[in-house]
Symmetry: C2
């Protein structure tokens, strides 16, 4: 690859693949009659979010208030902060929600927090919507759909002077653990049913439920229908990754994110190439890699064509990635100083390696540098 | 903890523990008659490096040229870049090495690179020392001590007009895989022997070998002697971590780094607390945790006393950490909004989560904010 960057490791984003992934998901949302609310936690980049939103200033999903702040600063106005709010964050959240034109929705699954939010919004004089988080089986955030607290929290939010009950949201994160796409439609149905059931209970109790929000990349792609759902949140699809590909959720040719890396050594005693992409550059997330039984940190590809070379990064140290090579011919094909690209196992974690920017390529040509941020 | 920070997760550094760890290693180096060259890759902080160096501007070890640049900018002058250099980095390295008073040593294990370095330094008119990396059994970087290339590379570097053969270096990284301290003295002896053997071969060939550099935190602590070694490189000891403690290399009370985190939810259906310290805040490095058979991402501790509560983070998502609780009393003891501190499994990876700074405490009181950097 000609001088896309002076030094490695660096983060490469293939714009055509990004655009294709984003277009495909927007079209599927249209077909299913739901709003797509892309999750910006994967890319943490306003430029990527603009592509995912088809050029509109939202709707988007965020996982941290820093993401919300940066996205509002970049002109996005319709945001769902999809991690349960805690009182220590009210001030930061309400400051954002109070900005002209900004519609920031919060999430809770806690009755005490709902009460505190009602008080805080009254005191601040700021209107805010808050959704109730539902647990559809992953047992991460949320209340089970039939938990009496769903109605209690809903009623508290609904009677707040400045709060509004915004609806319900759930996340079928167990879909990432599915070994293949065949079991995903069932998880998608469970996710949908949980949200729709909770929404129905609120409605039966005379409470509003304007938003019924579900989502994960696998369940959105494989849901048979989304009746009763109003919006879907997905994140990793903008880039996709090896974990998704090895589970049959996408093709390797869909992967838009890669790490450009340099061969820094040959260890013939250990029969491995050494790369300068290690645990910081790739993350230590083995994710769902190695469906065949050999977990790894990423696929080694040709630096220009991005064709997989049939090699993987099987061990990472902080600044070293190790690539086993059975055939010594690889030492000639990839001499010290040669460059390769790594398709990462888990794109969200790899992108968060501290790179600071995406180098954006169109057919191998550097066309832009898009900043990305990390932290909270 | 009173308002050490407005929001979480954030990175907390206990200064007294840091100072004690650093003092102990400096004293041990004195006892063993070697120079301690602390590795700044763990902390990526000039302030931490100053403590590790007893207030002196080096010697230090770096793993990236960004670390070298930042440390030189902060006044450090004696640096070893301990990852094999590639030609694309010569320009950056030589620009640093050419600064007044700066002594930057490089490392190689490649004959072509040695030749290219001789040419590049001549062309640039910059003097530089380069060490030969030796593989003492980990099969990461380096040549086996008896590899003929050790002498060939040494001879090339020695006859360069501007290069000097700086010696040999090796890293007994396999010590991190030891299940307990009992096997570490043997690994330390292997590490030392590899370096001393390679140095002896250079000497027998009439080549200089002023530096014989070894090091890892476990091998330095457990070496029986270091005869023939001139310097030792260690990194993680400045903070230590749960991986080191669970292997018996340090005590839990030595751990200087922790992550302040907020309880953001209770999932009673899943019998877990949810924290806002997930895969980005803690890293996904399971390291050597769970010597007892249950790998985890960190120990949950009291936010002020740092006493372990007997709970662990056993699952992480990007922004959620899950803490299994067998006893529902924990929901009362740690309500939503409560804060805890997590002792991380692998300090180097956790610190690289994008925090940007260390909040430095003396006996629970915030006394400083030390910037840290990430990237390359």
């Amino acid at each position: 690859m000609t001088p896309v960057c002076a030094d490695t490791p660096c983060l490469i984003l293939d714009r055509l693949r990004l655009q294709a992934n984003c277009r495909r998901f927007l079209e599927r949302a249209d077909q299913l009659g739901v709003t797509l609310r892309p999750h910006v936690k994967t890319a943490k980049s306003a430029d990527v979010a603009r592509v995912a939103c088809g050029g509109q200033p939202g709707p988007i999903t965020v996982s941290t208030l820093l993401e919300a702040q940066r996205m509002v600063a970049a002109g996005f106005t319709d945001l769902l902060y999809a991690v349960t709010i805690v009182p220590a964050r009210f001030e930061r959240a309400l400051a954002l929600a109070g900005q002209p034109g900004v519609h920031l929705r919060l999430v809770t699954d806690s009755l005490p927090v709902a009460h505190q939010l009602v008080e805080a919004t009254s005191a601040a004089g700021t209107d805010i919507d808050c959704l109730v988080e539902i647990d559809c089986g992953e047992h991460r955030g949320g209340l089970l759909p039939d938990d009496p607290l769903v109605l209690e929290i809903g009623a508290v939010l609904d009677t707040g002077r400045r709060t509004r009950l915004g609806g319900v949201m759930t996340h079928g994160g167990q879909s990432y653990g599915a070994r293949g796409p065949a079991s995903v439609p069932r998880i998608a149905a469970i996710e949908r049913d949980a949200a729709v059931t909770a929404a129905g209970r609120l409605g039966n109790a005379g409470l509003p439920c304007p938003v019924v929000s579900v989502g994960s990349t696998p369940t959105f792609l494989h849901a048979e229908h989304l009746a009763g759902v109003t919006e879907v949140r997905c994140g990793v699809y903008v880039f996709f990754d090896v974990s998704q590909a090895e589970r049959g959720i996408c093709e390797i040719d869909d992967l838009a994110l890669s790490v450009l890396s340099t061969v820094i050594g040959h260890n013939r005693a250990g029969a491995r190439l050494l790369l300068d992409a290690g645990g910081l550059a790739l993350s230590k997330d083995l994710g769902a890699s190695g469906a065949g039984g050999h977990p790894h940190y990423g696929l080694v590809c040709h630096a220009e064509t991005l064709e997989p070379l049939g090699l993987v990064v099987d061990t990472v140290y902080q600044e070293h990635g190790c690539v086993p090579v059975a055939d010594p011919a690889w030492y000639e094909r990839l001499p010290v100083g040669a460059r390769v690209r790594i398709l990462p196992n888990h794109a969200c974690m790899t992108a968060a390696g501290g790179y600071g920017q995406y180098l954006v390529l169109d057919e191998g040509r550097l066309v832009a540098r898009w900043p990305r941020f990390d932290g909270w």
